[in-house]
């Protein structure tokens, strides 16, 4: 009977350039105070010129591999969650695979937006559990590298029409090693969901293959249709309810009371909505951490980046709740017991 798969280690990387509201506001023809008031965000990180999510994830992966004593040759698969891949195809997983020198290990890009890390973790746990038809190329343990990374800074509307969304979306990456083992953190419950009827409330429409005869034209670009757009007012009540429900569900599945959760990372592009959902779920506000407040919304990577920053201070047995929502609309939560 194979050992149940666990989260063996985690790494993260926030790129060096820290962009404050003071730097961003003039281009958007607003003030730093107004940005802070509307978004609840003071600063975010932008990747250096020429770097994509695979470059950021590479640094996070190096840390995750080292911390679990995993050699690149121990890996059976790389799963990369992103909405902003290095290039349109192939995916960032292939680029990361090359940067790590991972021989011919399989590499897979998944797109689930802000639920990306949860989706990739869910898949990695399923693939490394020894129950499926998947055959790891090497004999021995099936360790899978889960990466999440975004570079939004190269695709944001830096004119006044971007004032509401541009300060919120940011860059960064994280990586985790998943595999069977007695050590490592135990994912007690994980559930994630989607509702595509709300896709056009928070999206980046272009390039759009469905447009005949060309997926993107100069006219589309001139109209700014290749920039992200969001209707926060329409989404807020729906997202708050969905986040709350997912958190309650995983708490129940794990058999945990809200009060027993030591740290909750709840991520959404509008921090007050994340906090309201957490509060409704019974989580004490001083234990609730909203990654977007600290470094902007890094879609798939926000949750694991913040989790990594706190990982070392959490004692074995500590109960952690991860939850996120975003475009799709996708949302989900995980109850993780530190190992």
């Amino acid at each position: 009977m194979p050992l149940e798969p666990r989260l063996l280690s985690i790494g993260a990387h926030l790129p060096g350039a820290l962009i404050t509201n003071e730097e961003l506001a003039p281009r958007l023809r607003t003030s730093a105070e107004e940005v802070a008031r509307r978004t609840g965000i003071a600063r975010r990180h932008h990747a250096p010129a020429g770097e994509g999510p695979s470059d950021l994830a590479r640094r996070a992966a190096d840390d995750a591999l080292r911390r679990s004593g995993t050699e690149v040759s121990d890996l059976a698969l790389i799963v990369f969650a992103t909405a902003t891949p290095d290039v349109t195809f192939p995916g960032s997983a292939c680029y990361l695979q090359d940067k790590l020198g991972a021989d011919t290990v399989g590499a897979l890009d998944v797109r689930a937006q802000s639920a990306g890390f949860l989706a990739a973790l869910d898949l990695a746990l399923a693939l490394s559990g020894g129950t499926s038809a998947f055959r790891a190329p090497a004999s021995g343990e099936t360790r899978i590298l889960v990466a999440a990374g975004e570079v939004f800074s190269t695709g944001l509307d830096e004119s006044p029409s971007g004032a509401d969304l541009t300060p919120r979306l940011a860059d960064g990456a994280a990586a985790a090693v998943v595999g069977p083992g007695e050590a490592g953190s135990h994912v007690r419950a994980l559930r994630w969901y989607s509702d595509g009827t709300l896709a056009d409330r928070f999206w980046c429409e272009y390039p759009a293959s469905r447009q005949y005869p060309l997926r993107v034209t100069a006219e589309n670009l001139a109209a700014g249709l290749h920039y992200p757009k969001a209707d926060f007012a329409a989404l807020a009540p729906i997202v708050e309810k969905r986040l709350f429900t997912a958190m309650r569900e995983v708490l129940e599945l794990a058999g945990w009371s809200a009060g027993s959760v030591e740290a909750a990372f709840v991520d959404y592009v509008e921090p007050p909505v994340a906090r309201a959902a957490a509060s409704a779920a019974g989580l004490a506000s001083e234990r609730v951490d909203v990654p977007t407040e600290r470094f902007g919304h890094v879609m798939a990577a926000g949750l694991p980046i913040r989790f990594e920053q706190r990982y070392g201070e959490l004692a074995p047995g500590a109960r952690v709740l991860l939850a996120a929502a975003g475009p799709g609309v996708t949302w989900g939560a995980a109850a993780i017991e530190i190992g």
């Binding site: 790389i78 349109t88 590499a107 759009a208 469905r210 290749h226």
Partner: protein
Amino acid sequence: MSERTHILGIGSAVPDNVVTNDDLSRVMDTSDEWIQQRTGIRQRRHIAADCGGTDLGAIAAREALASAGVGIDQIDAIVYATLSPDIDWPASANLLAAKLGARSVPAFDVRNQCSGFLYSLASADALIRAGRARHVLVVGGEIHSTGIDLTTRGREVAVIFGDGAGAVVLGPSPDPQRGLLSTHLHAEGRYAEKLWLESASSRKKPRIEPADLDGDAPRAFPSMSGRYVFKHAVTRFPEVIQEALAANGLRVEDLDVLIPHQANLRINQFVAAALEMDEAKVVNNIDRYGNTTAASIPLALAEAMRDGRVSEGRLVCLAAFGAGFTWAAALFRW
């Protein structure tokens, strides 16, 4: 050991608009003879009005659900394999789910180019066998025609690709001896830029701009080093097929049907010869559909199921090689 999964139903959909090699030679400097000789393609389908891969995918999915006798309410996850999503984000799986009236189940895109369908199948199988789902809808859908350069400048790539979608319902196998035996997934990212599409690209600022649409080698159209792709395909295809057979204690002689990704007929013929396989055991339909990337295997599988080449008890191998580079195989006892 948890019960095997199997393909319970299949569906397919292609646009009505047929584009022949002669049609292409009217807009670019090429010929029917040249295209057939190099690729084996006679015609492909291109959309003729706004249409997403998920529109074709929804038609294919409904057919798959009906043939499986499974309702959309029984679908616990939706995996959509594509390199040509309807929109940039969110994932097209979300749009497909909405079109089908699905419950709020996990729905995500797998962005793995020509191996996307097999990577998605492996993922769906894993979710089912880990107890996270009972029935998963796996769809491969592509609208290539709006993203290729249909001029002489882009002819090397443009003549190859076609639009289409294929869908399967994966669920518990009705018979423990039958179903998906094993899956094998590989990649080699050092060859990423031998077959790639740069723009939109998050590693450059701006990620997409008007200059990407023009010039001698526009970044917003795919580019390919054909010789590299051919050379690696004819090595990796036999390799991963042998890997799948060996993992189950079987040999090439035991194989009843091989359904390779339809990238190029010459590659598939080369692979059959390398494996010393009778060509009659290899399913090819690239002559009629071109390279439909993530849709190519389910489109070919649907045909083979309809005409009885794939039938109960047969040993069937699905294999793919493509951009990434990525390659994969899935072995079924049908």
